[in-house]
């Protein structure tokens, strides 16, 4: 009986947050201009990108420093499809995502045999391979990339108008987040977490650890590719630097900032990281690296569990009290 009550209270909190979020998301274009919409879209893209990193890092225990490789495959796949088949943004975005999945399966074969630092170094190197490869291919614009993409319309709405595109991204990101949530609570997602916590025991139950890692890597590639494709449409251009390893660091930082074992962590982390980055670029212009570096170093040395992790430990017990019951974890995953 008490358990049901707990669940109810936790669900109530989650539901209230969700409804507030949805209400803000729908009405946002009424209140704010293009700049904030652009920023919101960028945050959602970074959040999807961070989900990709977080699925590997927070739920399967693998730190990939090469996710920008799949991000850039998604972006270039989308861009090239848009050039070849103008006026079909859906084809571009999901085609780019599919290419990222293929790329992540191919390169995943090499990476998933390794764990820990070896995995990180391999993903880093293979991501940089994609980056160097793209820079070499003239068909993909070489070092300059592909500017002025023909974005086209979707159901009669011009996707190069920021308000229209905003709703599109909200819907796509909402579905992606929902699927991610379902994944974490499915047997597959639980197997990932079991591999993170006790690899050998999972292997002894007859589950192929390597295949599950590869599967996880492919899903992570899909999310990175989707983020890249959405970015390609947002800016209407792609360039090789999107695949550079310093791009891979951003979602890793956002995940750590938000809290890597939590479901909401990447979204919160992406928003905070983007806000800080925006602020730094605004104040410093060219010398952005110094404050950014100091922020990153501070983050690594001081922050434990991330923002969402800290909220769960401190704020949530208080909220549960207010809602009349002590409940279980709100997070999607196991506690850190």
């Amino acid at each position: 009986m008490n358990h049901v009550k707990e669940q109810f209270a936790t669900k109530k909190i989650a539901f209230i947050f969700l409804m507030i979020g949805v209400a803000i998301a729908i009405t946002l274009p009424v209140f704010v201009g293009g700049y904030v919409l652009h920023m919101t879209i960028s945050i959602l893209i970074l959040a999807l990108f961070s989900l990709s990193v977080n699925l590997l890092l927070g739920y399967t225990g693998l730190l990939s420093f090469g996710q920008a490789g799949f991000y850039v495959v998604g972006a270039y796949g989308c861009a090239k499809l848009l050039i070849l088949f103008p006026n079909l943004p859906l084809l571009g975005i999901f085609g780019g995502m599919a290419m990222a999945i293929v790329a992540s399966i191919l390169l995943g074969f090499l990476c998933v045999r390794h764990t820990a630092i070896y995995f990180s170094m391999l993903t880093l190197a293979l991501g940089m391979m994609i980056y160097s490869g793209i820079r070499k291919i003239k068909w993909l614009g070489g070092g300059y990339g592909l500017p002025d993409l023909p974005i086209g319309t979707l159901f009669g709405a011009r996707m190069d108008l920021i308000a229209n595109y905003y709703y599109f991204v909200i819907i796509v990101a909402g579905i992606a987040f929902y699927l991610f949530y379902r994944l974490l609570h499915s047997p597959l997602g639980l197997t990932f977490q079991a591999i993170r916590d006790a690899e050998t025991r999972v292997a002894f139950t007859g589950i192929s650890v390597r295949n599950h890692r590869l599967f996880c890597f492919a899903i992570a590639g899909a999310y990175a590719g989707l983020a890249g494709a959405l970015r390609a449409v947002l800016y209407g251009s792609v360039y090789p630097l999107l695949g550079h390893w310093s791009t891979s660091a951003e979602p890793v930082i956002a995940s750590l900032l938000g809290g890597m074992h939590t479901f909401a962590g990447p979204l919160v982390g992406a928003a905070v990281f983007y806000a800080i980055k925006d602020l730094i670029f605004r104040i410093t212009d060219a010398a952005w690296q110094l404050p950014m570096g100091i922020m990153v170093v501070f983050l690594a040395m001081a922050l434990r569990g991330g923002i969402v992790g800290s909220i769960q430990q401190r704020l949530l017990p208080w909220m549960r009290l207010r809602f009349g019951s002590e409940g279980s974890d709100l997070s999607g995953g196991s506690s850190a």
């Binding site: 990180s120 293979l126 391979m129 750590l256 950014m292 570096g293 100091i294 690594a300």
Partner: protein
């Protein structure tokens, strides 16, 4: 045939620069258990420090290299004492993010001090000119780098294997608690180990100034081939890193000459081939 030998020699000297970065990475990982993303930045700092003494102040080249190594050693001491020490027991991702932040900070400081100034230092007189290799001139400086790289390999081996300091360091690496129980000051030992690894990188960076342009972005670039070298040669193995650096250097040199399209990519293709055939790396123990 002459082309081939010429490219092999060039590749070898390129490989030696990779080796000098990979050596420090290997020592930092083997002894401190830390993966230092910012190691390429220490290489870059070595270049800039050497440029100050050699190009700006016009001091002796050997002295400039030595001073650059000392300068980067001091930087290494600061990094170890104030940053790395805090994350020794942390997870890998914290270490990588911390050292990534250091890359940004070092790049920013270099940009603040030197701006985007471009230096074109000349090769010191005693090392300039060419020797005849099969009837074609080969730069003496490349030979100097190759010899210095090989010499550094043996120096590191002797220091780690033959001196009291090296042996205590290896003891502390394999069992920190036992080492401190018998009276080894593990903390200062780790400090010196990191300074040592930083100075090796600075040596490479300082030597590279006549042939490799110093730019604030170098730190983030050279770390990638160094990671590839360490991955191919098995992380933690000095011999593996040395051999892998030669392979990578020679391969990229040959590719640049025979298949210009593949010059950067050849490094990654070799890595893929090695890791498909030997997932544990050249010198790794099979799992």
């Amino acid at each position: 045939m002459v082309d081939l030998i010429y490219q092999l020699l060039t590749g070898f000297s390129t490989g030696m620069l990779y080796w000098l970065i990979a050596a420090g990475l290997t020592i930092a990982f083997g002894v401190l258990g830390i993966v230092n993303f910012a190691h390429g930045s220490l290489f870059m700092l070595g270049s800039y420090f050497a440029l100050v003494f050699y190009d700006t102040l016009e001091w002796n080249f050997a002295l400039s290299i030595a001073l650059a190594m000392i300068g980067v050693g001091v930087v290494g001491y600061i990094i170890e004492k104030f940053f790395l020490r805090i994350v020794y027991k942390q997870d890998l991702e914290i270490q990588l993010i911390l050292t990534f932040g250091l890359i940004l900070i070092i790049a920013a400081l270099v940009l603040l001090v030197w701006g985007s100034a471009v230096f074109f230092p000349s090769v010191p007189d005693s090392l300039s000119g060419t020797v005849s290799v099969l009837g074609r001139g080969f730069p003496i400086y490349s030979i100097f780098i190759s010899v210095a790289g090989i010499a550094m390999y043996f120096i590191i081996r002797i220091i780690l294997g033959g001196t009291w300091w090296g042996r205590t360091m290896r003891a502390a690496a394999s069992d920190r608690e036992m080492a401190s129980a018998i009276g080894v000051n593990v903390r200062s030992l780790f400090s010196t180990a990191f300074i040592f690894s930083a100075m090796i990188a600075a040596f490479g960076g300082a030597m590279s100034i006549p042939i490799k342009m110093a730019l604030p972005g170098v730190g983030a670039e050279v770390i990638i081939p160094a990671f590839v070298v360490v991955a191919i040669g098995s992380l933690g193995s000095l011999g593996g890193a040395f051999l892998a650096a030669i392979i990578i250097g020679v391969a990229s040199s040959l590719a640049t000459f025979y298949f210009p399209f593949l010059n950067e990519l050849s490094v990654y293709f070799i890595m893929i081939i090695v890791l498909v055939l030997r997932p544990q790396g050249l010198f790794g123990k099979s799992a």
